[in-house]
Symmetry: C2
Subunit: 558 residues, 2 copies
């Protein structure tokens, strides 16, 4: 099915990431023989993906249909929406479209990976419409935890698809840029075939609090703080940094920015007019000591407990410029991304040990989510009033919950599309559903900036040796006599029992010597002998220790 | 300080686990030359503790003072309070005291580890007082998420110490056994020198809901369920299993228990009279198919997403006896222990994919905590009214928050003791504070049932090879000519770049050959040559790949 060109009265939706999971958002929309891609994000590895730095979508489907791809359109500048571009553009250098700040942040990422030169980046305004092949793209402004975020109406010959991007309905956004409900309503009234809706927070009832509520919490903290205020948040959270700067100005504090990504993003945002920093407010890190503690605010990275980030270093007293002292106030203005909880709490505990007063979201409302809660998802569905609806940006349980809510609102369950990564979903006025699967899709694991992805085999080996360690057995055997002329040597790392028992090494050597001695005459296939050795030593060790370290026998033919 | 015998008008408190952390609770109380130990628990490894199965307290201090230890007294039968006994008793076979169910569960654990024979186990009732050397132990009944839980008043010549154990003030406990507030009040009125208080839930305001509220939520689910009900909870949660059994009886269902620890614990609890199972209610797993789906309840392990547990197997359709089908109701009647969130949500998502209706605590109140919230901690403090107070069973931030609350209640901050593992804390009527540190304390990492603990070196090696993989370089050199007569062979596992590049292997071989060729004449110390090879190949690989795999050079002298 993957290669059959659909008619232009039918839309195909092919999720390549960000469905059945949170992160690495990427969706291909195909009409006839043209494709437009929405977002190109990354995610971070799970605990068992040892040594993996980043995870990006597998874009094999797009590479197979390279000539069809008209471009990539971006909803906003978060890592899980733009972070894979630096890798994807190397293989698929199509035009990329985004709002000013989104393209600004994208440029920063691409420059870091040295792929900016060849990238074809285009800025649109949330008020523009633009054409990509047969697709007419109509962005609409949404509210989110980063400025300049949009959703898209994609008008096609088969009908209109609306993709919400990440959104909330914030009536008091920090930058005053309201969700363009008027435009969305108009699009809805003109008729929408299918809505792809953010469902990340579908399990939370009601409406998410406005970003403006954070200002109230921060004001209380700034008013009471006797010494330095150190606030950590995501390096892209322009709104929250703006609020902290506003409070600093109000309470007579200078502001220093810490952390490479924080400095880079905020300088970009300031240059582009998204961040207002009054003249004379910002100071350099090495000027902090020139001011009294009550005159200083530090805004820093490290809200996720990342070991190398500025706040984490301060927490263990390993930061070159800032030493936490009793009386400092530290604000964690972000929630822990799932998987980071341990690291975040470790940082908080260390900060308390150093005498700081640490404030996090269970103590005061210093963080609100950028994703709308259940009532907002319902409002979106009512405004757009699509024929079909497909929840995205959620784990399966959230897609399921969204389908229930849509059901309660009157959408028959057959009109709610539950997609998985790699599904080919066809939507026309008559019918919608999964019609096939692309050949290859899923996750590409990135180790470093490097050569490519981490294969299943490498990952499986890492888990094996990481948990049980390994043994190398080296033995040199005479080609003439079949007798051992060198070794056996036994070397191990990470195998707990070898660490403690020389006797065990000797026993293993005996197993090897016995095995070699008793080789059948005709057995001169070294591969077979190595396998035999592995089996014999493996069996012996399991009996002795109930453990299965990796065993690497090396036979030298001398 | 550690070895100076304190006078008997002074108490020493030496936390060996369960402070500055959640888990592996163990506290030594010393008066003169006698020691009593409260609890002996384990914890589970963090994500970076690769291949570690369990973590237990380092008891070096107790082994150094073996002859002083009068016994171990247990507050209740949870793993984080009894789980280290099987390891500790091998080295320190002192008498162990607990209530009936606690000793029952302890016996099960000790039998599993084959150390039951020699263990000296003693049962006390919550109404008994008993003497251990100079200590008079007075238990008092508390409410918690397991029956037969107590706290202790430890009367000593230096004054009375109260340890709350884990507790909540539940006014409607499932087993009808109320917190013995009368006794606690009397102990408080007689004068308490120091209170060691559970502070796990100090960050949550108000009172924790009663275990009885879970019954209401379960009743709604049982009433509505059209097919099987499958409930997962901790294998020690007798109260919740009782509630599910009661609801099953009420709604005409038979009950099957799944999972080895669930079956073992509940059989023990039933035999001892802590679990009431009406005649004819329980069925075996292989009888499930004999009943209509609406006549069956399954109570199972796996609430933490443990890969081998029954529920996790059902979720991936890998359970021998139960296949999840659309219409089944699955209840997760437990919250995810920090670190297990990923595994729990993965299980939930898979269950939804199979068509089950999954109910977890954000959907309905099917779980309540066993630890009191802030108002309960305050009530405890007021009832006991100690001279000094020391929060335990919390990470540092919780200890800090508890100290704030105690401060608000009128305890001067110098009377609030903030301990760390290994501190020697002296308490007398005049003064309380840290006076020293024991020589060795902290965590012992257990890999398997086995020989002993995982050393720092093994763990560091595992992290290294787990994240970056390793290379083995084997080369045979003639002792006479110094020339290579075998190899070089290069073998790697878990190193991402080798997986993809034969050219890289050849380049490494060239580096080795060059290095051997250019050895200085006098350089015949193989250790030095191996180190040189490691450095040369390491440097080459870092330049090529920005990665530092472990490198093991093996030189054979032929």
């Amino acid at each position: 099915m993957a290669n059959k060109t659909p008619k232009t009265d039918t839309l195909q939706i092919i999720p390549l990431g960000g469905i059945g999971e949170i992160g690495k958002n990427m969706t291909a929309i195909r009409c006839g023989d043209q494709i437009v891609v929405i977002d190109c994000g990354l995610s971070f590895p799970g605990a068992e993906q040892l040594g993996v730095d980043l995870v990006i979508p597998d874009i094999s489907y797009l590479l197979e249909h390279k000539e069809m791809v008209q471009g990539i359109i971006l909803t906003h500048g978060h890592e899980d929406h733009i972070g894979a571009l630096a890798f994807v553009l190397k293989e698929l250098n199509v035009p990329v479209y985004g709002t000013r700040l989104t393209i600004g942040f994208t440029k920063g990422k691409l420059a870091e990976h040295r792929v900016l030169d060849k990238a074809k980046l285009h800025v649109f305004s949330a008020n523009d419409k633009f054409r990509l092949g047969i697709f007419e793209i109509e962005p609409f402004r949404v509210a989110h935890s980063i400025p300049d975020a949009v959703g898209f109406a994609v008008h096609t010959p088969a009908g209109t698809l609306v993709h919400t991007g990440d959104f909330k309905f914030d009536q008091t956004p920090v930058d005053g840029q309201l969700f363009d409900i008027a435009k969305l309503t108009r699009i809805g009234q003109e008729g929408v075939l299918v809505l792809l809706s953010d469902c990340t927070n579908v399990e939370r009832p009601g409406f998410v609090p406005s970003e403006a509520t954070v200002a109230g919490a921060l004001e209380n903290i700034f008013r009471a703080a006797q010494r330095r205020v150190i606030m950590a948040c995501f390096a892209s959270n322009v709104h929250r940094v703006q609020t902290a700067i506003d409070m600093s100005v109000k309470y007579g504090r200078k502001v220093a920015l810490m952390g490479r990504s924080m400095e880079r993003n905020m300088e970009m945002a300031q240059q582009m007019g998204y961040l207002r920093v009054p003249e004379g407010t910002r100071i350099r890190a090495d000027e902090i000591e020139d001011y009294f503690p009550q005159q200083v605010t530090v805004i820093t990275t490290g809200s996720q407990g990342e070991p190398m980030a500025a706040l984490s270093r301060m927490a263990v007293d390993d930061h070159r410029k800032i030493k936490i002292v009793p009386g400092d106030t530290v604000i964690l203005a972000a929630s822990a991304v799932p998987g980071n909880e341990d690291a975040v709490w470790r940082t908080v505990n260390h900060l308390f040990r150093r005498g700081a007063e640490v404030i996090y979201d269970s103590i005061a409302p210093v963080h609100v989510s950028g994703h709308g809660y259940a009532e907002e998802l319902k409002l979106m569905l009512n405004l757009v009033d699509p024929q079909y609806v497909m929840p995205v940006h959620g784990e399966y349980r959230m897609l399921h919950r969204y389908a229930q809510i849509a059901g309660e609102m009157g959408w028959p369950q057959e009109d709610v599309i539950r997609g998985e990564i790699g599904d080919i979903i066809e939507v026309s006025e008559e019918v919608a559903g999964v019609v096939g699967r692309v050949e290859k899709s899923g996750a590409v694991l990135i180790d470093g900036t490097g050569i490519g992805d981490v294969s299943e085999i490498v990952l499986r080996d890492r888990l094996h040796i990481g948990q049980d360690g390994f043994l190398v057995l080296v033995v040199g055997v005479s080609a003439e006599t079949g007798e051992i002329v060198s070794g056996p040597e036994v070397i191990s790392r990470g195998f707990v029992y070898m660490d403690q028992s020389e006797a065990l090494v000797e026993e293993i050597k005996t197993v090897i010597i016995e095995k070699i001695k008793n080789l059948p005459e005709e057995d001169n296939d070294w591969m077979v002998v190595q396998q035999d050795l592995r089996d014999a030593v493996g069996k012996f060790l399991y009996k002795k220790t109930q453990r299965r370290p990796m065993i690497l026998p090396i036979l030298l033919d001398l």
